[in-house]
């Protein structure tokens, strides 16, 4: 009833090639963007910005990067956190050592450094596939962390190896409150998500998907396998690098190499598995699930123990959260192996028929 495209005609190629061909989709999308940019800064408090929204956006970007590599190009990678680390530390070094470097240029250059590292560690993908490639990217994860700890240059020879990100100043405007950092992150993530969506609809994206589905057939029809795979690694690492730079500058403010450990790589992988591999929306849904659910469970159990009046031992609460979190992951994968994005798609399909079941 609400979600019909009756009466919507496309009269130009541009209209035909839109990301959101249906008017209702476009309205919903712009409503979400306006809400995120204009309404949220007015109503949310600092806790929401600093602890919930900004990390959600940063991890969405990292999940987007991994989705490009694993979901669209089919190259399984466990080195996501290492690329984020490269982005974070190189952004810090560019800001520190080049006087007057604009922060956005630092982010972009940090992303390019991460892309270079990604290309180097993507070379094994030309020979091995699937699970074995994951092990090779594991080497990248450990090597990058080792290099960042061993060579003091990366952390400006600080005694503890911890770097503190500098101030963010764009065109004279200082971004130092949590709300401003949220808006900066939101702007960068929106632009890069749009770029990713269009990239995946273009010839590059189709080449990625061909390599994912059957790389022998892809090379037979003329797709250059080496260039495609390395390009996938480069673009994915660029996204992860920018996410890492945002993590250091807009979220925590200080990072040590240990913060980008294997645990984080697995978290991002779980985000895309739960959200939906091969889907841009899936990156956002998965990131929301993994970053927000533990906080929600924490608050929920706090409220429950408050209400019931019994003080449950705190260690129990934390462990119950972990148990429920794991159980929910298993549940979602059983109910819908293609992730939350598929559930969203099914929802939209049902909405087209609503309220008529046939």
């Amino acid at each position: 009833m609400l979600y019909r495209e009756a009466g919507q005609f496309k009269s130009s190629y541009a209209e035909d090639q839109r990301i959101f061909p249906i008017l209702q989709d476009r309205i919903a999308f712009w409503a979400v963007l306006v809400f995120a940019f204009a309404v949220v800064p007015a109503i949310a408090n600092q806790y929401w910005f600093a602890a919930i929204l900004t990390p959600f956006l940063i991890f969405s970007l990292a999940a987007l990067g991994l989705n490009i590599l694993t979901g669209y190009a089919g190259q399984l990678s466990l080195g996501t956190a290492a690329f984020m680390a490269v982005g974070a530390f190189m952004a810090y070094n560019f800001e520190l050592r080049v006087p007057g470097m604009p922060i956005l240029v630092s982010f972009a250059l940090a992303g390019l450094c991460a892309a270079a590292v990604g290309i180097v560690f993507g070379l094994p993908s030309l020979r091995i596939k699937g699970f074995y490639l994951a092990v090779a990217t594991l080497a990248c994860q450990f090597f990058v962390l080792w290099a960042l700890q061993r060579f003091g240059w990366f952390s400006n020879y600080s005694a503890s190896g911890v770097i503190t990100a500098g101030k963010i100043e764009i065109l004279g405007v200082e971004f130092d409150t949590a709300a401003e950092k949220y808006l900066l992150t939101l702007a960068i993530v929106s632009v890069m998500a749009l770029a990713a969506k269009n990239l995946m609809r273009s010839e590059t994206g189709r080449a990625f998907m061909a390599v994912r589905d059957m790389d022998v057939a892809a090379s037979v029809i003329g797709i250059p396998i080496m260039k495609t795979k390395l390009l996938a690694f480069a673009i994915s690492s660029f996204y992860c690098g920018v996410a890492g730079a945002l993590y250091a500058f807009c979220y925590l403010g200080t990072v040590e190499p240990e913060a980008f450990n294997l645990d984080l790589s697995f978290r991002v992988l779980f985000m895309i598995i739960i959200g939906g591999v091969g889907s841009i929306l899936g990156s956002f849904l998965g990131a929301a699930f993994i970053t927000l659910l533990p906080i929600f469970l924490n608050l929920f159990f706090g409220a429950v123990s408050h209400l019931v009046g019994v003080e449950i031992p705190h260690a129990w609460l934390s462990n119950i959260e972990l148990i429920i979190f794991g159980a929910l992951i298993v549940f979602f994968l059983v109910v819908e192996p293609h992730g939350l994005a598929r559930l969203w798609q099914i929802g939209k399909e049902k909405l087209r028929l609503w309220p008529f079941p046939h």
């Binding site: 520190l96 503190t164 240990e258 906080i295 706090g302 209400l307 031992p313």
Partner: protein
Amino acid sequence: MKRNAFALAIAAVAAAGFSGAALAQAKEQFVPANFYWVGPYAPGGSGIAGGMLDYFKLINNRDGGINGVKLTWEKCETEYNNARGVECYERSKNKGPTGATLIHPLSTGITYSLIEKGTQDKIPIVSIGYGRTDAADGRVFPYVFPMITTYWSQNTAKVKFMGMKAGGMDKLKGKKIVNLYHDSAYGKETIPVLDAQAKMYGFQVTHIPVPHPGNEQQSQWLQIRQINPDWVILRGWGVMNPTALKAAARAGYPRDKIIGVWWSGAEEDVIPAGDAAKGYIAAGFNVSGSNYPVVQEIMKHVYAKGQGEMEDKSRIGSIYYNRGVVFGIVTVEAVRKAQERFGKGKPMTGEQVRWGLENLNIDEKRLKELGATGFMQPLKLSCADHEGGGAVKFQQWDGKQWKVITDWIPADHKLVRPMIEESAAKYAKEKGITPRDCAKEAS
């Protein structure tokens, strides 16, 4: 119908939970209890949390609060993870009538993440015995307090202890020392000061890292056996400690030549190693034992009423529990001092408690009143000196308990303070901070 009822129930629970937390009474001092009760470092986190909260309960029950202002707290699990620590901080910093009093991050990593946030929000970050060492220079770090003793200070005290055992500091020349450290921000902090002391006294120091979490140390101890040093400094945390002692036993290295830092010197670090830990020496800025008057008071006024934090009563009086009591004493005394200036019987803001911390003076007389003589050392802070104490005691594990084997050994402030000021000045230059002028602020 069922679905609606279920959704309503969830909403009701959420609303009740949030509204319950919002009910704030006027005369309360809120202290966030952002510690960790799960994970590999849980013994330390839960022990310290238990000691601190039990001391707060003692003050509330026995004295009716600090001049009538009762202490309140809320627990938040940080899992020793920086992102969770920041999230817990953001959640807890505005609770209570005057916001959070101060915050004990109980993690060097989380301390680093909170330094800028705490300074902006005017909430003191108190990192007793850990944290960013150069924050002892209060002119550059006005809201960070690495109190009682920093890593660099206790390191110099350890070298003094080694000198004592060798028969004089000049006898250290030519000796070999290995620094076995946890490969994290915490572990790496003492490398520069050890190198400086090696140059000063003429000993050879080798730094050997152990990757987190540290339950694989075979190769490191083989390397140590090859070097055959006179002393090994064990700078571990959590499971790395008992693993090191067991590996040392297997490698045949005598445990009484291993000196641990105070985060490697608790019962939870040695009991899992069993007999391998006998003779191991560790430094500490507090001692174990439950027959100190302050601990006895806690038993009388808190546990007798069934309100104690520790389910396992044998942990009362352990090193981590007593450390938590020290945290509690410091917090309460700082608020008390702030009240002297800004209004007795009123809840204090973070900024006022910062003044209280900088003018904190817990002397021997006050320690006697608190029932903590010998339990902790006298503390005197100032605007420029956010450390205050600097001395440690050394204790040896005899298989059943920790026996104190030295008196308070002070740190080498002449060596450490210039290094702290240099490092703080570098940070100030990098961040564009103008150091405070303590003489102007003296009031």
